[in-house]
Amino acid sequence: MSKPVFMLALTGLLVASLAPVQAGSARTSILEKLQKEAGTAFSAERGKILFSSTHKGGKPKTNSCTVCHTKSPLKTGKTRAGKDIAPMALSKTKDRYSDPKKVAKWFRRNCRSVLGRECTALEKGDFITFMSNL
């Protein structure tokens, strides 16, 4: 391997190894922001209940997260239009909950669809905490 190629490969490796760290710190900052707003410590147990329960107030066809995401966050889900959804558990999909815009977008859409309202900071924090501990 020539020197420039080797250096390029090395840089590539370094960037790849740093990516999860960056995602991790972005996730921490999202959770810290939610924590400040919520004022209460997050609970994975409450997150689990939010995810698994059947809710009233939203659309009858999507009255639970599990309609699209399946009962197990470790499994691949399916959108109502037939596309696969990567598992929600962080252990299965490494870049979950690390893009603030994406996180805000999907909580807004899906909380409205399932609960008929936006989620609170506490609910969002509980949800991410549950998904991060599986």
Partner: protein, 142 residues
């Protein structure tokens, strides 16, 4: 050897377009549009609907055929402009909002899709279930 591979690759890429009988549509190339529109379904080619339909769709994303597909203002504007630019041109009377409700779409699929295939696809908007090249713009494989 490299030349052979390149020629073969070109053949594979070019062949479907060469044999198409008109049922090929340029796929969405804009990155933002592609990312957002393919989050839940395939990003449908812009030329499948006229600008008036795309505008109506983009104005009502919070109730997108029953789903909340709302986007921030900036992204909505960007995607709307892209669709207007790339939309089907010509005159349309009462243009449909659903591609699956266009007359040619119904005629094209009416006698071709078995109950089994329909069940497998889940919905008629799941082009890729039968047209394997759909997200590259090819719908000729039927």
């Amino acid at each position: 050897m490299k030349k052979v591979i390149l020629t073969l690759a070109l053949l594979v890429v070019a062949a479907p377009a060469a044999f198409a009988d008109g049922k090929s549509y340029a796929p969405i190339k804009d990155k933002i549009t592609k990312t957002e529109c393919s989050a839940c379904h395939m990003a449908f080619p812009a030329r499948l609907l006229p600008a008036s339909s795309w505008k109506k769709i983009m104005l009502n994303l919070s109730d997108h055929f029953g789903e909340d597909a709302s986007l921030d203002e900036e992204t909505t504007k960007h995607i709307t402009n892209y669709f207007i630019k790339k939309s089907a041109k010509g005159k349309f009377r009462n243009p449909a909002l659903r591609i699956t409700e266009l007359r040619w779409f119904i005629n094209e699929h009416n006698h071709e899709v078995s109950r089994k295939a329909k069940k497998k696809a889940g919905t008629m908007s799941n082009c890729k279930a039968c047209h394997r090249g759909a997200d590259r713009g090819y719908f000729d494989d039927d």
